[in-house]
Amino acid sequence: MNRAVADIAAPLVLIAVLLAGWEAACRIMEIPSYFLPAPSEIAKAAVNSAPILFMSAWNTLFMALKALAVASVLACGVALVVALNRTLEKAVQPLAVALQVTPVIAIAPQVVIWAGLAHPERAIVALAVIVAFFPIFSGALTGLKATDPDLERLFDLYGATRRQRLWRLRIPSSVPFVLEGHKVAGGLAVIGAVVAEFVAGSGGAQGLAWRILESSNRLQTARTFAAVIVLAIMGALLHAALRYAEQAILKRLRGR
């Protein structure tokens, strides 16, 4: 009990101390707000712009979730096809790795042009899909191949067909790996969406990155900070939600 309280209190106390130090430094040294706003000013900006920050966060989150859904279908589908054929797997693997190691920012400008400058949200979703694809694909492929050798032997013993083996053994075995892949991909989809918003750099898709750009250009530094904090909170909440979903599904699946 005491330990649990301490575990929760420790990071809060540290944050409070750091914020107090920051606030004191800004006031004592009279640092101008456009250069480094004090925490109290950031809080004020956050409250004043709350509705628009909330709307922007929702826009970014919605695009990231759309991207996660598309990436999920694509990655699981490709992993399933590839897992059935070794030659196909060898063919796809280097392309998938190339896609993963290419920084999304390097291809973003071109994707924005392809999507059409009038539809930045399409480019943002597409880029977030590219970033979210790999962890799901990799997890699904690993999971489809990570079957228990003893269960494989059991399926051999009863003369299971390839199809029975796929549906009754390989796909259920892959579930924990697929869920882990989604958890990683969720965070990456948000990052992908934000990076793409920066590159798109227009008000066409009014996400959090646009708020950051806009505030920064107007020297509303406190509002910039507020937007960054909202972004961090949103990312953390998404991660927590995906982790909760993962644990709930696994618990249901294994009965414990």
Partner: protein
């Protein structure tokens, strides 16, 4: 009539050399045979040959070829962690194309026979080690096999659980009388379970000696305290020590 046999089989693994043989074994209908030997003598390999999960390097294997005619209970319960006890037991039937409702009904009956009618919906993680092994046994029996292969099924269980399970296996065996081959490195389990005990030498495993034990199966109560039980166990222990080149 023999149900399955190994004739002069030898198994060699690349890089590991010879693991088994030449080795002969014939199992008659309704007979329970135990294979005893030191670790790594190839007794599990012999079992995999009879299950058709492996092919011999030399020699011939005669086995019941039909689906579900040979069942194996592995060292671990080897259950699908995502499936209920019922679904796990129904698996061999469903893989064979039996209608799902019919398969589930037979699986429920099989679970009732091993005393687990209350755990039908439980997932493997919710079962104790002994219960999981019983589910595994129900799965092996659900196809009414002619040959039941038991690969050290008690290895991970405590003494009381393994004694209960050993007695229950005899009762279940008595219902349909399949031929049983029981692999173990526990001498007393071998004497209790089987009416014929084949003692194998260290790798590559060969027959060192064959000992007939009391032919009465299932065992009467307190069988473990009889002189017959003790002397058979001592004889096998001596053979086992001699097969490893040591004095008992």
């Amino acid at each position: 009539m023999s149900v399955a046999s190994l004739a002069a089989v030898e198994v060699e693994y690349p890089g590991r050399g010879k693991a088994l043989g030449p080795f002969d074994l014939t199992v008659e209908e309704g007979e329970i045979v135990a294979l005893v030997g030191p670790s790594g003598c190839g007794k599990s390999t012999a079992l995999r040959l009879l299950a058709g999960l492996e092919q011999p390097t030399r020699g011939t294997v005669a086995r019941t070829p039909g689906r579900g005619e040979t069942s194996v209970v592995f060292q671990s319960p080897n259950l699908m962690p995502w499936a209920s006890a019922l679904a796990n037991v129904a698996l061999p039937l469903e893989l064979d194309g039996v209608d799902k409702a019919e398969a589930r009904q037979q699986a429920a009956d099989a679970l009732a026979r091993v005393g687990l009618s209350g755990a039908v919906a439980a997932k493997p993680a919710q079962l104790s080690g002994g219960m999981a092994m019983r589910v595994s046994l129900a799965r092996a029996l659900v196809t009414e096999p002619k040959l039941l292969l038991l690969d050290e099924p008690f290895a991970a269980l405590d003494e009381i659980t393994r004694r209960d399970l050993a007695a229950d296996i005899h009762l279940l065996w008595a219902e349909t009388r399949p031929a049983v081959i029981f692999v173990t490195h526990n001498v007393e389990e071998a004497v209790y379970m089987a009416s014929r005990v084949v003692v194998m030498s260290a790798a590559p495993g060969r027959t060192f000696n064959v000992i007939q034990t009391d032919p009465v199966l299932p065992r009467p109560p307190h069988f473990r305290t009889t002189l017959e039980f003790r002397s058979a166990a001592e004889a096998i222990s001596r053979d086992l020590a001699a097969s490893m080149g040591r004095a008992a």
